[in-house]
Amino acid sequence: MKKIKRFIVTRAKGFKEWFKQRTVTERIGFCILFLIMLMVLISFFYLPYDPTKMDGTAKLKGPSPSHLFGTDNFGRDVFSRVMSGLQDTVIIALGIVAIGAFFGSVIGSVTGYIGGLFDEAVMRINDAMTAFPSMLLALVVISVWGAGKYKVIIALGIAFIPSFVRIVRGEMLKLKDADYVDSARLMGVPTFRIIYRHIFPNIMPTLLSAIAVGFNNAVLAESGLSYLNIGVTPPEASLGSMLSDAQGYLLNAPWYALAPGFVMIILILGFSFVSEGRTK
């Protein structure tokens, strides 16, 4: 028991120290992200109302204590829908960035480390892919394959790989001739171990801020696709698809569109504050 207490105390102190070292922008960013992640976690277990339950007696009601963000044209509680939409948006964006960052890091570090003709060929393909807007790439996949949550994750995930390849490769080129890498090589450390044990930890800071930026781009791209009704399919709703439903009721029920829109802005601001703080 005492051990656990001491563990918590030292961790809390460490956290306090860490928090003090951050810039103000970064602190605000982390607070926003903490609140949003808390919302997402809560939405797994508890929502004030069932987000798909319709109520004919409470259509397009304005914000009130019982319906924090009002209700929509089917009498569904907008607050509950925003919470579950936020959950979907965050999960999809995390999936996209995870695919992009993982394959991007693997391809980028291998091609950067090997270099030569192989590197040249990979980068040529990579450049051709970056020349192609990620939204279009996703549209190509979806137009042939059909819409849906997992297809969006895969389509945009693939579209996000090239930018990570470029970043990781650039860092790899900088680090692969460093003295400590040379000495590791002389000691007979296997190539694979050099890449992931010796070089990769030093790429991590750059990669993390690229992930924060990538997360934002993923949220924007996904909400764009869902807004066009070619992203997530009903009854599932991300923030983007809510906005496209709500646009028709802008005149009578502006809260329906403004609520998901502002939640999305806050989510993106959180990540951009954090990534800006890191780069300073």
Partner: protein, 313 residues
């Protein structure tokens, strides 16, 4: 000159790769065009005859060459939904998209450049700080939510324009430009924010150069120094971003056209994806991709003309 040739060749190769991928995706993957045309009840002989007459039995490279030759001659195939040549369907839509692009780029250019210099000039003062924060917030707003906000604030609340109204360019050209304007602003705003941030950084790093001190000591006013001396040098790193934005804008904004209900290429693309009208989809996508690739390469070439200090690598 050598650089110019090298760049052009690599651009053509990229275009060929992209067009081949498009051909694969939209001509090969969707399945047998003969069966989908004649229906599942057609006899095998009918299908075979149709395949032969359409040249579907030829090997893939031959079909690709024929497809590409058609594109180069302005023959984009026949829409499966409207059963009319794609090129005729697209011309009206292309007008809307192009004018929207030009309008938003002008708006973007004449606001972002002066604003970027001013933000850098007053970076320590309240004006600089407030506009820096404002730019960050604008960047966090999805372009289509910017559009929705514009419709809500200026269209519905302040009644400064009629939302979702479209005037055909044939009826009244000024009315046409006017109804594109809110959409142009929605496209331009996030891009203004991006460029202002880059330009601010670039100007700030130029401020400490020797030539700036020289200009001041020769008695030039601070506005003259900022807008004549510094801006010229600060623009160089920003040119690439301007080029990327130009490419992006010219390719058209699929989402914004949807928000403002404008009958441009992007909206047509989305509705064609919905009806699985692949000849139309592939023509529009190829246009968008080609515009991005060509403009990006032109900007790279221009970059070398503007700043000969950059060595060819």
């Amino acid at each position: 000159m050598k650089y110019f040739i090298k760049k052009t060749v690599s651009m053509i190769i990229t275009l060929l790769i992209v067009s081949f991928l498009m051909f694969l995706v939209f001509e090969i993957i969707p399945g047998d065009a003969a069966v989908s045309k004649l229906g599942t009840e057609a006899t095998p002989e009918q299908v075979e005859r149709y395949r032969e007459s359409m040249g579907l039995n030829d090997p893939v490279p031959v079909r690709y060459a024929r497809w590409l030759a058609g594109y180069l001659h302005g023959d984009f195939g026949t829409s499966t939904k409207y059963e009319r040549p794609v090129a005729g369907l697209l011309s009206d839509k292309l007008t809307v998209t192009l004018f929207l692009a030009v309008e938003s780029f002008f708006f973007f250019f004449f606001i972002s450049i002066p604003l970027g210099v001013l933000v850098a000039k007053y970076s320590g003062k309240a004006f600089g700080r407030i506009s820096h924060l404002l730019m960050q917030i604008i960047m966090a707003i999805t372009s289509f939510f910017t559009g929705i906000l514009l419709v809500f604030i200026f269209g519905i609340t302040l009644k400064m324009f009629t939302p979702y109204r479209f005037v055909a360019p044939g009826d009244s050209f000024l009315g046409f430009l006017g109804c594109l304007f809110p959409a142009a602003v929605a496209i331009a705003l996030p891009k203004i924010a991006t460029v202002v941030r880059f330009l601010k950084q670039s100007v700030t790093s130029e401020e400490r150069q020797d030539y700036v001190r020289t200009a001041y000591s020769k008695g030039a006013s601070s506005n003259r120094v900022y807008f004549l001396h510094i801006l010229k040098n600060a623009m160089i790193p920003v040119t690439t971003i301007l080029g990327m934005i130009l490419a992006e804008v010219m390719a058209g904004s699929i989402v914004i056209e949807q928000v403002f209900n404008l009958p441009g290429l992007g909206r047509f693309l989305v509705s064609s994806i919905g009806s699985r009208d692949f000849p139309v989809v592939s023509a529009i996508m190829l246009y968008m991709a080609a515009v991005v690739i060509i403009i990006n390469n032109l900007v790279d070439i221009l970059y070398h003309v503007v700043d000969p200090r950059i060595q060819n690598d």
